[in-house]
Amino acid sequence: MKINDVILRTVTKAVVFIILTLGVYLFFAGHHAPGGGFIGGLILASGIVLLYLAYDIETVHKGMPFDFKKVAALGVLLATGTAVGSLFFDVPFLTQTHTYINVPVFGKMGFSTVTIFEAGVALTVVGVVVTIILSISEDE
């Protein structure tokens, strides 16, 4: 049975970018405002899931040729990597550091190693959520 999903596809085309942008925004906003790696990752994942709902797996896979299991693994590696990385600077496990740099155009911006850690969290969330949903929903 083929369902008529013109409306869904049309809406998805516009909405997915909003969702993904929101996800990225929330990820970076996390340090000072609501947001962060977990929520950002979840929103990115729900955007991707929406794409899968509107289109079939092959079409989406052509546009996003990621193996989401590897995305999750990369995320965990990033998170644990920043944790171990602090040992090389002779500080306790998982120590984070931050600084402010004047960037042209944007002005004074904060940079923190937490961002790398949070990126790991976000990637894991995206990878795992999409992997779970894909593996459950795929028909035999």
Binding site: G36, I39, A79, Q96, H98, V114, V121, T124
Partner: protein
């Protein structure tokens, strides 16, 4: 002396590199050639320090690891660790050289050498560690690597069973030892062995002193296969022969002896220590040699022989501990000679037993069998192997001109000397020591003769052999020949060994004695006709008679019923453990989700409500609470309505949507109470889980009206009400709960410490980042779990995998 630390880590690094380089290296040459360089480098590095160690120097290096718990990576190189380290690297080099010719490239060599290097590093860690916790870690690592090596041919059932047995027994002992170490820590306040030895007078008064002694001894006895824990060693012979030669005769099984030697300055003066170490040692010596005689498998014979020889060394350390009781005096020097003999025999045993194991491996490899009933007359066909067997076997039997003779004579001296000691009420039982030692030596002589005689003399039985026997290739012979050269060399120049190697080790065992050279006797090959020599003559005389009449008295062994061996008890224990745990697990793992929830909730209520009641924390004070707004009330009613409706929902989708209502209402509460982060998270999580549920429910059959008995329904209702009440009451009580320190003080300075004004995220990323990191890992594992469950079909196991 950071170099000792590097020495421990070097094998581990190489072991980690093997899987990476394996594919490239295997094309160039046998992997063993690369691995061989590791112990050789370590041996040469160590050898450089022999002169300095002989002068009485020790080297210590501390790397601060967890200083707040007094756990530091402290390496300590002294005479005692030197002996063991030299054996580990020296015998290790020879074994790896031998294994290159023993194992074909068709075997999974990368596994083998990876495990072997792992073991080598762990073993070096054991003998170099000064910190008890670090020592324990390496100790268990030797058990694990030994497990992997015994089960190397894991397609064989016997290999797996042997590996499990060795692991069960040695890890049991290891855990006992850990408890002993912790008791020592309580008594002394330090994990450092050197500090414990220095403060021994204080520790001796502590009530935990004797329990610690007993527990540590259990660890040492299990590892060194002492009676009645010896049963794992013969089964460990399922490992490839190089492993048997290395782990199960020269190094790992001696870790227990190392512990006994290392701790004898602490416990040496105790009567319990003396009786246990020397007594169990003597029993093991006798029982091992007695049982070795009836073995028909050459490796099993050597295994029992190793058990017995380990008992000999153990009992010598026990006898030597008398020296600690008397303290430094002219007369107590006599008793310290036992410890000297123990160290001497330790080295001798490694040389001749290593050679003998390699010899058996050669026979197995070139003839195809190790069963002495099928062997015989190999002397003419394998002359070099025969020579190795004679040198090793005669040394084991304690005959001149081989090193075993010297240490066995010293053993006789020690057991004769102990008769007159006026302490620990030895005098009443004094005569038992020399008699047991003498009888055990006779059996040792007999099985040594069986080993040589039944393999190499007599008639050749070519029809019973799997292969046409011929001499081994040169490469396989080099290692045992080198060991045999040591066997002979040590006999002729024992005092070189005595001065450079044994003397500093004596100083570590008797740190309170002023001079180690006083403790080092001059070893004479010929000491005139005395009681010891007469005992040796007796051993040879009776031994030859017993060997000649072996067939007549061997049926005696059948008098003992097999029902009452320790192996039977062990098997019964394992069977009982497996059955009872299976039955128990079946009782509660019913596969019914409701049951699991019942366990979880009952436990939850009992623990949480129980704790709150116990700590009298249910204190409520509503005075300070803010007023309840009307929209909050509406939300609460919506949630209650959804929750109650869910109980009576007919379809899954309805129930799920109602669950969603609950979730979104909570998000609303977060909004009302100004927690935008939580609200956001809750909303997104709720959406994603709802989508997931819908996907899953597609595959489930429609809800069936459940037929449950009334009693069950009522008990479930009671549990649910208790859970709800607990959560509510705890929620109300925590506002005023003051039994724990609040964690929120941490986060007061969030902006200053972590530079983030979003406190939730600074908690997640900075203050409690460890939790977050592990949660991410858990998430990944859960994802992979779902993936494997839904995607991967169970592969068909090869049928012979289990049943060979």
């Amino acid at each position: 002396m950071v170099i000792v630390l590097i020495m421990i880590l070097f094998p581990f690094v190489c072991a980690a590199l093997i899987p990476l380089l394996y594919r490239r290296l295997r094309r160039v040459a046998h992997l063993g050639w690369f691995v061989l360089s590791v112990p050789i480098i370590l041996f040469l590095l160590l050898a450089r320090y022999i002169p300095q160690i002989a002068e009485g120097k020790t080297f210590i290096h501390t790397y601060e690891w967890i200083p707040s718990f007094d756990i530091n990576f402290t390496t300590y190189l002294d005479g005692l660790s030197m002996i063991f380290a030299l054996l580990i690297t020296g015998v290790g080099s020879l074994v790896i050289l031998y294994s290159i010719f023993y194992l074909s490239t068709k075997e999974s060599l990368h596994h083998f050498y990876c495990y072997l290097l792992l073991f080598m590093g762990a073993m070096l860690g054991v003998v170099f560690s000064d910190n008890l916790m670090v020592l324990y870690t390496f100790w268990e690592l030797t058990s694990v690597s030994s497990f992997l090596l015994i089960a190397f041919w894991h397609h064989r059932k016997a290999s797996r069973a042997g590996a499990r047995k060795a692991m069960t027994i040695t890890v049991f002992g290891g855990l006992a030892m850990l408890a002993g170490f912790l008791m020592l820590y309580v008594a002394s306040g330090t994990f450092s062995i050197r500090d414990i030895v220095a403060n021994v007078e204080v520790i001796r008064e502590h009530t935990l002193f004797v329990p610690a002694l007993l527990l540590i001894l259990i660890g040492a006895f299990t590892k060194s296969a002492q009676f009645p824990f010896h049963i794992w060693l013969p089964d460990a012979m399922e490992a490839p022969t190089p492993v048997s030669a290395y782990l199960h005769s020269a190094t790992m099984v001696k870790a227990g002896i190392y512990i006994v030697a290392r701790f004898s300055p602490v416990f040496g003066g105790e009567a319990v220590w003396f009786w246990l170490v020397s007594g169990i040692g003597l029993v093991t010596l006798f029982w091992g040699s007695f049982n070795a005689v009836r073995q028909t498998d050459l490796k099993a014979l050597l295994a029992y022989s190793t058990v017995s020889q380990l008992g000999l060394i153990m009992s010598l350390f026990g006898l030597g501990s008398v020296g600690h009781y008397f303290g430094y005096a002219e007369s107590s020097i006599l008793y310290t000679q036992a410890s000297f003999a123990a160290l001497f025999h330790l080295i001798n045993h490694s040389t001749f037993k290593g050679a003998l194991f390699m010899m058996v491996g050669i026979v197995d490899h070139e003839v195809g069998t190790r069963d002495i009933r099928r062997l015989g007359g190999l002397m003419a066909l394998m002359p070099v192997t025969f020579t190795i067997a004679v040198i090793g076997g005669f040394s084991m039997a304690g005959l001149p001109p081989f090193n075993g003779f010297l240490s066995k004579e010293m053993f006789f001296t020690a057991v004769l000397a102990i008769r007159d000691v006026e302490a620990f009420s030895i005098a009443d039982l004094g005569l038992v020591f020399p008699i047991v030692a003498w009888v055990a030596s006779i059996f040792t002589f007999v099985y040594s003769m069986i080993l040589i005689g039944r393999t190499f003399f007599g008639k050749l039985k070519p029809d019973k052999m799997d292969k046409k026997p011929h001499e081994a290739p040169l490469g396989m012979l080099i290692s045992p020949i080198i060991l045999c050269l040591f066997v002979v060399g040590i006999f002729f120049f024992p005092n070189v060994l005595g001065h450079y190697i044994l003397e500093p080790a004596m100083a570590s065992i008797y740190p309170t004695f002023p001079s180690a050279s006083e403790l080092t006797p001059h070893i004479h090959a010929w000491h005139g006709i005395n009681a010891e020599l007469l005992m040796t003559f007796g051993v040879v005389f009776v031994g030859v008679i017993l060997f000649k009449t072996l067939e007549k008295w061997k049926p005696l062994y059948r008098v003992f019923s097999q029902k009452y061996t320790f192996n039977t008890y062990y098997n019964r224990m394992v069977e009982f453990g497996e059955n009872s745990s299976t039955n128990f697990t079946k009782k509660y793992m019913t596969g019914n989700l409701t049951h699991y929830f019942v366990y979880i909730y009952v436990f939850f209520v009992a623990l949480i409500a129980g704790y709150f009641i116990w700590s009298e924390a249910f204190a409520f004070n509503f005075v300070q609470d803010s007023a309840i707004e009307s929209y909050e009330l509406i939300l609460v009613f919506v949630m209650m309505f959804a929750a109650v409706w869910m109980l009576f929902a007919k379809g899954r989708v309805t129930a799920m949507l109602l669950n969603g209502v609950l979730g979104y209402s909570i998000a609303f509460f977060f909004v009302i109470f100004r927690a935008p982060d939580l609200a956001l998270t809750q909303l997104v999580v709720e959406s994603v889980t709802t989508a997931l549920f819908l996907l899953c429910f597609k595959y489930l059959p429609d809800l069936m009206p459940e037929i449950t008995r009334k009693r069950v329904k009522w008990s479930n209702a009671v549990i649910s009400i208790f859970v709800g009440a607990t959560v509510t009451l705890v929620g109300l009580a925590v506002v005023h709960y003051d039994k724990f320190e609040p964690v929120s003080v941490y986060f007061n300075d969030a902006y200053k410490l972590a530079g983030g004004s979003n406190i939730v995220n600074t908690i997640l990323g900075d203050f409690r980042a460890f939790d977050t990191m592990l949660e991410v890992v858990v998430l990944l594992i859960a994802g992979l779990g779902v993936y494997t469950l839904t995607k991967l079909k169970p592969r068909k196991e090869e049928a012979d995998h289990e049943n060979q």
